[in-house]
């Protein structure tokens, strides 16, 4: 176990929120076809409010802080927030489309000691990337920004979300990342929009195409282990938890709402009305999330994948129960190993059935 993993486990055991994802805005200069966000501003936190939240997060023991959005640079005070966060000695990660990053911004990001910058690139073909972002010349501007950031010696990761429009392009994007000297990560997850509109799910790559990704050694390390049939879950597996959401990690929206994870739309409180630590320690919803062990899961506790599945309790919650299965993860487990899940078997299915999540993160208290 690496030192970072050991520290993460200790935070988990102590109930310390060691990592927080903070969206500073939902506004964006791109209009990506698959995006789930409502880009209108429904009253996002002010500079002073966010600084106050950062003070509270530092006091609570948060070490890893991810700034994301929307597009973070849509906020004119974004660099001020990063500077403030670094003064509080957070490890800062930024997720951005980088379109608004020029040499000056890249230099400032390096001076502030930002740890990593994750940038969305959809294709190595400009016309495909621009068609997805709906922002002309966005590919050119994003790639130019990556060069600026790399020239500053910063750690950059290209995040390649895969969907029907670019499903064949991951090899090209990976080669582009190599050429630029940056890291590459791939994500085939498409989620419904905040208003419940599920039309974007039609952009998901079909499950039948997942094996090509999971069994591609250029994309997945340790192929043999990763794609091996699951071992029967151990006692430790069943006494364990699904993930770190609510245990050592949480998400805060631009409106101050606190959730167990960015992908877990269960409202637990709002930092405009309560202290962060009061929400973290005493929210009944947060405590319920962290009480659920694998052995408590209605269907998954009897599944052969229970010890290895990447089951997301947030996606399960969106399907109706945080103790139930997450069909998207059943699909991944099946196409990864070829072994049916308990959720499939109880429905007599030979292939996963794609169900549609119904709930998404949305502002809990929209100002009048």
């Amino acid at each position: 176990m690496s030192l970072v993993s050991e520290v993460g486990q200790r935070a988990f055991d102590l109930g310390v929120p060691i990592a927080v994802h903070l969206d500073v805005t939902y506004r964006c200069n791109e209009r990506c076809v698959h995006c789930y966000l409502d880009h209108d501003d429904h009253g996002e936190m002010t500079t002073a409010e966010i600084k106050g939240v950062l003070d509270q997060l530092a006091e609570a023991g948060v070490f890893f802080l991810t700034f994301s959005g929307g597009e973070v640079f849509m906020r004119r005070d974004f660099m001020e927030l990063v500077e403030y966060a670094r003064r509080l000695m957070f490890v800062v990660k930024i997720k951005t489309n980088a379109v608004m990053i020029h040499e000056e911004e890249a230099r400032r990001i390096r001076e502030l000691g930002v740890d990593t910058i994750q940038i969305s690139v959809y294709s190595h073909r400009p016309e495909v990337h621009d068609a997805i972002t709906k922002l002309p010349h966005s590919f050119e501007r994003t790639v130019r920004a990556i060069r600026f950031l790399h020239d500053q010696g910063l750690r950059v990761t290209i995040a390649n979300v895969l969907m029907t429009a670019n499903s064949a392009d991951h090899k090209g994007v990976q080669e582009l990342a190599d050429e630029l000297g940056v890291h590459y990560t791939l994500d085939p997850t498409i989620t419904p929009m905040m208003d419940g509109d599920t039309s974007v799910l039609s952009l998901r790559i079909p499950g039948e195409e997942l094996p090509e990704i999971f069994h591609n050694p250029a994309l997945v390390d340790n192929q043999d282990d990763y794609c091996a049939p699951p071992k029967p879950p151990s006692k430790e597996d069943l006494e364990g938890y699904s993930c770190s959401a609510g245990h050592a990690f949480c998400y805060i929206s631009p409106y101050g709402d606190v959730f167990p994870c960015v992908q877990f739309p269960l409202p637990t409180g709002n930092v405009r009305q309560q202290k962060f630590l009061d929400i973290w320690n005493f929210s009944p919803q947060m405590n319920e999330v962290r009480s659920i062990k694998v052995k408590d899961l209605a269907v998954c506790s009897s599944c052969s994948h229970a010890g290895t599945c990447s089951r997301c309790p947030g996606l399960a919650y969106m399907e109706g129960s945080m103790r139930g299965p997450s069909t998207a993860d059943c699909e991944k487990s099946f196409y990864r190993t070829g072994v049916p899940t308990a959720n499939m078997l109880r429905h007599g299915l030979s292939k996963p059935r794609t169900t549609v999540p119904l709930i998404q993160i949305r502002p809990v208290a929209v100002p009048a």
């Binding site: 102590l14 000695m89 490890v91 800062v92 010696g153």
Partner: protein, 102 residues
């Protein structure tokens, strides 16, 4: 003030946070990650650039922990040297506050 006084400051490139009595330290410039024990954490927290290391050892370490003063000073100097090598601490022969005022 002794001639061999050294002053230590935390590098602006690092991130740090206490967890369960230990200090986690990450240097974003090279992604090195450390955890410091209780004694090292006390020195790290006192590294304000204006307090001589000898004074930190005398007032923070020897008073809080049951250690021999000479051994504590030697250990502290070795610890500071190692963390300087990793870019976590910066050593100066003059206090940083005095420098900024001059």
């Amino acid at each position: 003030m002794p001639e061999n006084c050294i002053y230590i400051t935390r590098s602006s490139a690092i991130a740090a946070r206490a967890l369960g009595g230990e200090m986690m330290v990450m240097n974003s410039a090279n992604s090195t990650f450390f955890t410091l024990n209780e004694v090292a954490t006390a020195i790290f927290q006192a590294a304000d650039g204006s307090t001589p290391l000898q004074e930190i050892v005398r007032d923070r370490i020897c008073q809080q922990f049951d250690v021999d003063p000479d051994q504590a000073q030697a250990d502290a100097e070795q610890f500071v040297s190692e963390l300087c090598g990793h870019g976590v601490l910066v050593v100066s022969s003059r206090p940083s506050v005095a420098e900024s005022r001059s």
